[in-house]
């Protein structure tokens, strides 16, 4: 090779090396090992619930009037007694508050409570996993009932004067007891003869409430329905459809909690896109109390209760707060009329 050839080879090599060096530096500078650019997946890979969240503002006819901390790490259930005292169960205890949210007392339990009901006479029924314990109004333990089945998991109790209804999510049944603890009959089991399709309970959420019309309302979350049973266990009617529209129940298993307003309307709470709404006794949507913008997205579900004045008391397990809602004009919580002295 001539000297000139050697030089030009070297120059060409130098140029190539230089260009490669620049490319290498740029590539290293652009490398993103820490996920700054996100997952770079297409839109079809995103789980989008944004479109499902908004609720027409004229449907929201309740406003949050107060909220207070439940003071529990894992609050699980809420109940209101005849005197409008608010009870919250969780952290192996029941705590109670005045109607304004001032702490008024607490009682420790032997186990983790799963649900709570306070009857008109002040008797508490507390579900402790598989069994029910009864406490007198002063908080002394009066009885502990034996579990109904091996898989019993109590998620709701409703106390009527002469009957105690227990929702057993594990056995997928509603159990009717007399107040003294004597088992009367199961309700809601699959029975082709009586045209009862049976309760489908995919997760430990099964709630019930005694309607003002004397029919027991039971959630059937796996079928996205609310069912009405007579005390004899006959399925009278059922309503509810699956869907993301606001008058339907969204997701795999909703509604998860029920309560009854003084005028007989039902308060139904959904998990997932946490929503609390009010339905007429026959199922038509009356209005919305609060939607996911307020209660968030969670799989926990907000337990609900109603006090004597028709206020809806919501246990927000994500915020660990009790939120109290009162009827308000649609579209907001602003009160409209006040004095007029200001210019």
């Amino acid at each position: 090779m001539t000297a000139r050839g050697a030089i030009s080879t070297r120059a060409a090599a130098g140029l190539i090396v230089f260009l490669a060096l620049v490319a290498a530096v740029v590539a290293v500078a652009l490398h993103d090992p820490i996920g700054r650019r996100g997952n770079r997946l297409g839109r079809d890979f995103a789980y989008e619930t944004k479109d499902l969240r908004p609720i027409p503002p004229d449907l929201i006819r309740y406003a949050e009037r107060a909220a207070f901390d439940a003071g529990l790490a894992v609050p699980r259930a809420i109940a209101v007694d005849a005197g409008d005292k608010i009870y919250v169960a969780g952290d192996r205890a029941v705590v109670w508050f005045t109607t304004h949210g001032a702490p008024a007392g607490a009682r420790a339990l032997d186990g983790e409570p799963t649900c709570l009901a306070v009857g008109a006479d002040g008797t508490w029924h507390v579900g402790l996993g598989g069994h029910v314990e009864v406490f007198d109004p002063a908080g002394a333990r009066a009885a502990a009932w034996t579990p109904h089945g091996a898989r019993s998991y109590i998620t709701a109790i409703a106390a009527a004067p002469d009957a105690i209804f227990v929702a057993d999510a594990g056995e997928r049944l509603v159990l009717l007891y007399r107040p003294d603890g004597a088992f009367v009959r199961p309700i809601g089991g699959r029975d082709a003869a009586r045209a009862i399709p049976g309760l489908v309970v995919p997760s430990p959420f099964l709630d019930l409430a005694m309607g003002k019309d004397g029919l027991l309302r039971v959630t059937n979350p796996g079928r996205r329905k609310v069912e009405a049973y007579s005390l004899e266990g006959d399925l009278c009617f059922a309503w509810g459809e699956a869907g993301a529209a606001i008058d339907r129940f969204c997701g795999c298993c909703n509604p998860v909690h029920l309560a009854v307003l003084p005028d007989g309307a039902l308060v139904a709470a959904e998990k997932g896109l946490a929503t609390v709404k009010v339905c007429e006794p026959d199922g038509a949507l009356r209005c919305v109390v609060a939607g996911p913008d307020l209660l968030g997205e969670n799989a926990l579900g907000c337990d609900v209760a109603v006090d004597s004045r028709g206020r809806i008391v919501v246990l927000d397990p994500a915020a660990k707060k009790v939120r109290i809602f009162e009827p308000a004009p649609p579209g907001g919580s602003r009160s409209q009329e006040t004095g007029s002295a200001h210019e």
Partner: protein, 187 residues
């Protein structure tokens, strides 16, 4: 250092030998010390399902073209829902397995009728790319029985997992190789 010629070679050689021996002892002993006193065994990477937020980085940050992370299904936690929010769109058009109703972009979830009203959902691991879309749907509305795990016959167990470096929620942990999964357990 031109004293080279006057210095007897053996002295330099001896010093070198001593230094070499010290070095060898240091390297070998150090490595042995680090390995020996605490031997909880080999460690492998795994995702803590409780911390995972199913952000989707697992699908794209793995050094493998097809990620070693895939969705797994804890059947004992599953509700066998007819309307599975891990299988169907949040608002499905119909409860059929047609493409317009199905959540999984790669069609990796298989739906099978068991008995009324129960349906079984299994993951076709050949199709799953670990994007976590179904995990979000199941966690949001359902029981959270679908979740992401490192599939260890695929994982190369890199020194530092490149997904772990890009994980936003510190869900990646090293676990004993003898128990390489963090199953959501039914107790």
């Amino acid at each position: 250092m031109s004293d080279h010629e006057t210095t007897p070679i053996p002295r330099r050689g001896f010093m070198r030998a001593a230094a070499r021996a010290a070095c060898a002892l240091g390297i070998g002993g150090g490595a042995a010390y680090l390995v020996a006193p605490r031997t909880p065994g080999e460690r492998v990477w795994q995702i803590d399902p409780e911390k995972c937020i199913a952000c989707g980085n697992c699908a794209t940050y793995c050094v493998l073209r097809e990620s070693a992370v895939k969705c797994v299904h804890s059947f004992a936690m599953c509700g066998y829902c007819e309307l599975c929010t891990g299988f169907f769109n949040p608002s499905p058009n119909d409860l059929t397995t047609a493409a317009e109703n199905v959540l999984c972009p790669t069609g990796a979830i298989v739906r099978r009728f068991v008995e009324d009203p129960y349906f079984e959902y299994t993951i076709d691991q050949n199709l799953c790319i670990g994007c976590g879309k179904c995990v979000k749907g199941c966690k949001m509305f359902g029981n959270g029985s679908l979740y992401l795990q490192v599939i260890h016959d695929r994982c190369l167990n890199c020194n530092q997992c490149s997904i772990a470096a890009a994980c936003p929620s510190e869900a990646w942990v090293r676990v004993p190789a003898a128990r390489p999964h963090l199953w959501k357990k039914v107790t």
